[in-house]
Amino acid sequence: MPGGGRCPDCGSTELVEDSHYSQSQLVCSDCGCVVTEGVLTTTFTDEGNLREVTYSRSTGESEQVSRSQQRGLRRVRDLCRVLQLPSTFEDTAIAYYQQAYQHSGIRAARLQKKEVLVGCCVLITCRQHNWPLTMGTICALLYADMDVFSGTYMQIVKLLGLDVPSLCLADLVKTYCSSFKLFQASPSVPAKYVEDKDKMLSRTLQLVELANETWLVTGRHPLPVITAATFLAWQSLQPSDRLTCSLARFCKLANVDLPYPAASRLQELLAILLRMAEQLAWLQVLKLDKRSVVKHIGDLLQHRHMLVRMAFQDGTAETEDQEKEQQGQRQEQRHGEEEVDSSLDLPKGKRPASPALLLPPCMLKPPKRIRPILPISTVTGDENISDSEIEQYLRTPQEVRDFERAQAASHASTSVPNPP
């Protein structure tokens, strides 16, 4: 160690600081002679000169597992056990929690956030193993606020640099559908409402796939779509008895919470099915509506791929074509790829005139307000600012006096009057 020190025995400059137990010593690395040695103990006067260090800056903090971290790790284990997750998940979630705790921002966070962090670690573990766990479930179990949960989740994913895969829709369907209490008769569930689990699962899966294909799932919370699909699947398996049952009643029977957007998803799904039904000749004559189409969902699902292709045209090709055709919509001259069926059918007059666009519902609705196109401003930023323009924002002295008087009056009226 350079520093001008020399061994008194051999004269070498290679001195190393090496501690013997807790006593610091300066030792020559050539001959082993102890050059200097520190004190093993401190005297009372010595300790008086030492400055105290806060716990957060002392080395002890990073070495030991703090009490709040221990509590957090216990909560992670408890949550994994409540959710009946495999034991490997527990270890992974614990590792994530410990990793998160290394960061000072997490160590200094409020208890509420640390509690939510427990849920985040479990959620990330489940997502990485394709275990379908929704954020809603975790928030309900932890009695956590969704805003706090989302903020913490985004922060921890960024902090730890994790790759979290998306929620697996098929697995979520299976788990969620299995939680519906409709597979056995009970006092609350009449016999005609009981349904076979496998049949309902497979039909729900098909309906969810259909919704995914027709842009009903992208950008939306997945659970309401699955609720609507389950309801339709259940209804369509025995329509004569079940058409009278509403979505709300269905969820109550099945002992499942009804998510608010499920009703709107149901309407969207029915609209898609109606459009598909228009492509089947034997259903066209029946003039179906939203209630009667449920009876034919089985048939529609069987041929869903072909029907979707026939019933809808790709939204993008359609807009391109309309741009290039100035006037005179001669459909025979359109690109033959998607529109051949529809254009050829027009002369026959058997199919609807123009297939609907396959677009997300937000693109099909008319815009709420037309965004105003701002005129190009010629502001340079260095213009003269006239005094009159600034004066308009200032109060005259009279106005100031009036304002002060009004403020004083309002303060007097709001303050509690002294009891007599």
């Binding site: 989740y153 992208t218 939204g315 993008t316 807009t319 693109m363 502001v379 930023g381 200032l394 109060r395």
Partner: protein, 338 residues
């Protein structure tokens, strides 16, 4: 001369197709989207490579009126046309066409644009087209040789969409301590609620902006739609503070954040985008309907929605927003068709 007859036939067909011509698709940036486009359709590949090999077309077009064609197809700009006419040939390939026999090599340009892949794949044809494995190299080489002298659309306008700046946040130092109570008392457009927030919130009508004025003399100005407007607004606020009797100056004006938005006009499969660009994207439909894309260069955050609307934020300069959009547009186009 039979050459002229075929040429006239071709030109007539071009004239008829002008009404139905596809808009020229923006595929001229030499990197990813170009190759992606080529991979998608085999016809233009073959057609295009044939174009590149055509250099010595000696067809005599002087007698024919070519004024209705875009400039690129005239004899002088033959080299440039090979790129631009790729799109035209693509549309020609797709539409129903009579296949003309291919007599002479002076008609190679027309041949390649007229015939579809069927005739190209016939071995031993006069038009000896080879799909060379090193085609991408030749593409980029020819592109690099072409770009300097071309009057084509510049790459910056490839997408044809310009993001609109919606909001600019800037800060300025007035360099004097301020009495917020006095400001709130003497200014009509100010609100001050010390229990809620420790600054005066002041608004002016032109440019329509809002400012947060702190007692330290620092000020934040938000709501302007352009950099110049933001600067003018900040100066107006400083002038108001000056008129109230404080020795306000105008130091260190800096634009801290710019927000822009635009619409690509097609729907986007966000689930697909998050799969292919996992390291940059974050898509949680349970939390937020849009996909959050964190671009590395330039360092911009984009919010991409299923309707095709894109919000870009985090820029300090206008060019960063434009650059970020030009970077994302080809990626989004890749997800246009399901």
């Amino acid at each position: 001369m039979e050459g002229n007859t075929y040429l006239e036939l071709y030109l007539d067909r071009c004239a008829a197709q002008d009404d139905l011509a596809l808009p020229v698709s923006p595929l001229f940036s030499p990197v990813v989207p170009y190759e992606g486009y080529l991979r998608n359709s085999s016809n233009p590949e073959i057609v295009f490579s044939s174009h590149l090999e055509v250099r010595e077309t000696s067809g005599d077009f002087s007698s024919v009126d070519l004024s209705f064609l875009p400039d690129e197809l005239t004899q002088e700009n033959k080299d440039q046309t090979v790129i631009k006419s790729k799109c035209q040939t693509e549309e020609n390939c797709k539409t129903q066409q009579n296949r003309l026999p291919l007599p002479s090599e002076q008609l190679r340009v027309k041949n390649s644009s007229l015939s579809n892949s069927h005739s190209f794949l016939q071995p031993g044809g006069t038009d000896s087209v080879q799909v060379s494995p090193e085609k991408p190299n030749s593409d980029t080489l020819s592109l690099s040789s072409i770009t300097p002298m071309t009057p084509m659309t510049p790459l910056s306008e490839c997408s044809g969409i310009v993001p609109q700046i919606q909001n600019i946040v800037s800060t300025v130092n007035l360099a004097c301590r301020l009495d917020l109570k006095k400001i709130a008392l003497h200014a009509k457009n100010a609100e001050y609620n010390p229990k809620r927030f420790a600054a005066v919130i002041m608004r002016i009508r032109e440019p329509r902006t809002t400012a947060l004025i702190f007692s330290s003399g620092k000020m934040v100005c938000t709501g302007a739609k352009s950099e110049e407007q933001s600067r003018l607004a900040a100066r107006k606020y400083a002038r108001v503070v000056q008129k109230l009797g404080f020795p306000a100056r105008f130091l260190d004006f800096k634009i801290q954040n710019m927000v822009g938005s635009c619409d690509v006009r097609f729907s986007i499969r966000l689930e697909g985008l998050v799969l292919t660009h996992q390291q940059f994207s974050s898509y949680e439909p349970e939390l937020f309907p849009g996909l959050i894309y964190r671009m590395v260069k330039p360092r911009i955050v984009l919010l991409i929605f299923v309707s095709g609307k894109v919000v870009l934020t985090g820029a300090k300069e206008r060019s960063e927003i434009y650059e970020a959009f030009e970077n994302i547009y080809p990626i989004l186009k890749g997800f246009k068709k399901t």
